[in-house]
Structures are given as C-alpha cells and as structure tokens.
Amino acid sequence: MTDETVKVGIPTTMAARIGREIRSNLMAQLAFALVAMFAIMVVFGPWIAPHDPEAFALMERMKPPAFLEGGSWSYLLGTDTHGRDVLSRIIYGARISIGTASAGVAIAVVIGVTLGLIAGFLGGIWDTVIMRMVDVLLSIPLILMALLVVSILGPTIPNIILVLGGTGWIWHARIVRGNALRLREEQFVLAARSSGTTRFRIMLRHILPNLLAPILVTASMQVGYMVILESGLSFFGITGSTLSWGWDIAFGRQYLASAWWIATFPGMAIFLAVMAFNLMGDVLRDVADPHGRAAMT
C-alpha cells in the first residue's frame, strides 16, 4: 500500500473518524447535537433555567404551554398544579436523571471490565464463578432488583447509583470476556507471553486497549438504558430527589385530563435523552468497528 492510498482512505485516529462522521452523517449530527444539549443542561442547568424549579407560584398554577391559548412565553412548557415551571424542572431533572445514570454506568464499567478480563483471560474456576454470577443477575429483571435494593436500603441517590452499577456490570463483563477470549489467541498476545510478560501486564497493556471501543459503545447505550431505569424508580416514588423526570411523570399522571403537559414533556425529555445516547452508541460503533468484527453485545 502506498502513502497515497492511506491519505485518501479512512482517517486513522478515532477522533478524526468521529469528526468525519459528524460532517457527513445526519444521524451522527443529530446524536451529538442532542448529547451536547443535555450536557449543557447538566452542567449549566441553574444558569439557563428560567425559573426556580421548586418555587410554588400560586397565581401561575396549571398554565398551559406557550403555544396554547392562555399560555405565556414566560412559562414555555407550562406550569404544574403548584405553579412550578415545567421547563425548569426538566432542565434541573437532567442533572438527577443523566447524572445518576452516568455515575451508575461508570461503576458498571469498572466492575464489568475487571471481572470480564479476569473471566476471559484467566479462565478456569474464575470464569465459571463470574459467569454464573452474571447468569444469576440476568435471571432477575433489573427493574425488580433495583426496586428491591433501593427500597430496602433507602431511596437516596448514592443507593440508586450503587444498584445501577452493581447490576449493570454484567453487560460489560460479557462483552469484555467474549473479546478477551478472542484476543487471547492472537499473535501479539502470544508474542508478549513468550517474551515473558506477566499475565497482569498483558491484560492491562495489550488486551485492554483493544477493548476500549466496544466498552465505549456499550457504555453510551447503557447511559440511555439507565436513564429509563432511574426514571422508572422515580416513577414508583422510590427516588433520591423529587427533581427527577420520572417523578414528574408520576406526579403529572394524576392530572392527565386537566393538564396533560405536566406528564408529557418530562417523558419527551427521557425519550430524547435515551435516543441521543443510543444514536451516539450506533455512531461510535460504526466508527470504531466498520466491519463488525468485535463482539458488541
């Protein structure tokens, strides 16, 4: 292959390929625009929210969204039965819902990657024990497990993060194990072993870097899934904060006939957030593994 063919081919660094994807692919543009929007809501929420999300305003109760008759531009998406601004609650809720989900995913990645590497690379009894643990967690629906643990330990945000991470790790463990099994037989690992590299070092320096792409893809999709799970818990009233999207849906559900917007808009926020992280996962997968070689699920 000459230098010239390399230049006109696919850009080599991951960042460059993502850049190319964003310039050329409409779905990628949508994904990153939505993720950026939610990132801004999480980081700058208090500065961009038009109102205090918890302030009661008795004169402004049940105002419809601005585009309906009786709405006002001051309350773009309307107000709830206590006069709280729906838009501001959504902006603040992003912090709780996406923040909790991301923290849970971070823990899941750390546990899952560690156990997956051990199972895939060391094999034997380690593999058996870890994979049976995965089977046990797989056999109990996540929402049931989460409801049980959080309601027994107490509904606080750290407990919710703990249960999201403590159950979500099985996704990463399975993918890392599958890929580690595949990579274990590769030439470069055999070469490292025969030159006397320790197994720990091989896992850390040779196998792990090859797994970054599938881990990133799974983590991105898992954030979306965890947002649904966190909102689901809040929907059941098991929540560390009443500023969560799921809690707003449960609250608004009682006023469907008179003020549909209270439950509708927070749900759209969840929908858009989950879609954004799913699309981002898709884009990352296409970028990292255009031929579909690695096991991603």
Partner: protein, 326 residues
C-alpha cells in the same frame, strides 16, 4: 448428549439457588429490622420480641439461611406477613394474569418486529429500511411507563375508546362465551388488554426488529445464499426458504434471553394499568416489606427465566444438528 443436558440442568439449578441466596442476602443483611415495620413504632418490647420469634427473625443469620433453603427444597415458600396466605397460593393466583399479558404482548409485537426486520434487510438503505429503523429507534428510546401514561391520555382520557385500568374476563372465559355466540366478553377482554400489551411489547418489538435486520443481513453474505442464487432461486425464495429459518434461531435465542426484560416490563405495566398480575404483587410486597412474598416472587421469576432458556437450548439440540454434534 445426555451429559450435556445434565450439565445444563445442573447450571440452571445453580443459577436459581444463586438468585434465592442473593435475595435472601439483600433482605437479611440490610440494616433495619423488618419486625418494626410489622408491629409499628409504638409496640412494646414484648410484642416486638413475640413477632421476631414467630417469624424466626431472632435466629442467627446462618440458621435462618439453612432454614430458608430447607423450606424451599420442600416446596414451602412461607406465609405472607401481611396477608396471612401462603406465598405459593398468592403467586399461583396472580401468575396466569401475568403470563396472559406477556404472551399477548409477544404475539402482538414479535411477528410485526420480524416483518419490519425482514423488510429493512431486503431493501437496505431505502425508505423502507430508514422507516423501520426509525420505528425501532423510537421503540427502544420510549420508557414504557411514559408510553403507558400517554396511551391512557390518548385512548382513555381524550378519545374515551378504551378503559384506562383493570382487566376484563380471562381469555378462556371470553373464548368460551364466543363459542356460544356471545362476543361481549371477548370485546371486554380485548379492550382491557390492548393498551397494556402495547406498552409492554413496544420495547421488545424494537429490539427484535433490530436483531432480525442485522442477522438476516449477516446471513445474506453466507456462501449458501450465493449457491442458492446461482442455481437460479429468486431473492425472495432464498430469504424465505433459507435465510429466515436460520435467522429465526437467533431471534428465538434472543427472545429467551429477553424474557427477563418482558417480566420486568410487566412489573411496570401492571402497576400503571392496575392489572392484577404478579408484577403488581411484587411492587406491593416490596413497598410493605413482605419478605416471604418478595423471596418467593423473585425465585419464581428467576426460575421462569432459567427454565425458558433451558427449554430453548434443548429445542435447538433437536433442531440444529450443528449444535447436537458438537
């Protein structure tokens, strides 16, 4: 082959035992005394001790665990602390409603998902493909509890076409009446089950659509497709006679693995629509800390999951010689 079946069976038992141990550990290692919940904050020390003793909560942890496993082995799931009924009876009473709802959701959604998946794999990068991908993307991104609330808003509150909660007669009753020429019970049944079934099935539909599409596209690249095309078979014929049966194997495995997702979805759906199934019983029991019912319910759900997957694996053994011969 007998050795394989035995090994899978043993694995299944280990997993169910693991689930039983996990739920026991969560309930009994967590801080706080469940007896307080039962007798109330103002009970005397004596009443409190009496309750602890009668429930076996005064025993050391390992004795409680051994006793729990012993009871499980003899098929005894204990007695509900709140209702006073045997846990097994309570679960058995609610289980048919959950199975009914789950099956209807699967029957409504899976054929549609396979159709969408096939269409988009046959015409990739066309309007058909993009639309079906878009439907699947909406499906995976919509939280089921919100979907349920929105369906109620549209069909029960605004249009007033369908009831927002509860259930009609059981399917067997409705079908029986239909045979006698009375269609009213069947209409009642359908009008109550349709919204919960859509709520429960949408997520699954989206996942299966995506999987079917990927799997068919993968199979289309296999040599056997080239051979079939080379001998003059039409594209449609190849897909329906060769590719689809192969892809259905992965789809069925996947559905087996997602039985947990369906049962989890049932917990949410039953709560929204006041469907009197096992999911709602679990939520109620968790909220009032009814330990025997929680333990029994989790065990039953784990058991269903493990054995559905075991049966799926055994069916392959019979269907697919490649697996049988390995």
């Amino acid at each position: 082959m007998a050795a394989y079946i035995l090994r899978r069976l043993l694995q299944a038992i280990v997993v169910v035992w693991g689930a039983a141990t996990l739920v026991f550990a969560i309930l009994h290692l967590s801080p706080g005394d469940p007896a307080v919940n039962l007798v109330g904050e103002n009970a005397t020390e004596e009443q409190f001790e009496l309750v602890r003793e009668s429930l076996g909560l005064n025993l050391p942890l390992h004795e409680r665990y051994v006793r729990y496993l012993g009871e499980l082995l003899s098929g005894d799931l204990g007695i509900s602390w709140f209702v006073g009924q045997p846990t097994l009876d309570m679960l058995a009473e609610r289980l048919p409603d959950t199975i009914e709802l789950t099956l209807v959701a699967a029957i409504v959604c899976i054929p549609l998902a396979i159709l969408l998946g096939v269409l988009s794999a046959v015409w990739p990068r066309t309007l058909v493909d993009y639309s079906s991908n878009f439907v699947a993307l909406i499906g995976v991104s919509t939280p089921n509890f919100w979907l349920g609330v929105m369906l109620i808003l549209l069909f029960a509150v605004e249009l007033r076409w369908l009831p927002s909660m509860g259930r009609g007669p059981f399917i067997t009753v409705a079908l029986g009446a239909m045979l006698e020429g009375n269609f009213e019970p069947l209409k009642q049944w359908a009008s109550h089950i349709i919204l919960p079934a859509i709520t429960l099935g949408t997520f699954m539909m989206a996942l299966v659509t995506r999987l079917t599409r990927t799997d068919i596209m993968e199979n289309m690249r296999q040599p056997y497709v080239k051979v079939a095309r080379a001998k003059g078979m039409s594209k449609g014929g190849v897909i329906f006679h060769h590719v689809l049966p192969n892809s259905l194997i992965s789809v069925v495995t996947f559905i087996g693995l997602e039985v947990g997702t369906l049962l989890g979805g049932a917990i949410v759906t039953e709560t929204i629509f006041a469907w009197p199934g096992m999911g709602r019983l679990m939520v109620e029991s968790i909220l009032r800390r009814d330990y025997p019912v929680i333990q029994g319910g989790v065990l039953l759900i784990s058991f269903i999951f493990v054995f559905v997957n075991l049966i799926v694996d055994l069916i392959y053994l019979w269907l697919d010689p490649r697996i049988r011969l390995k």
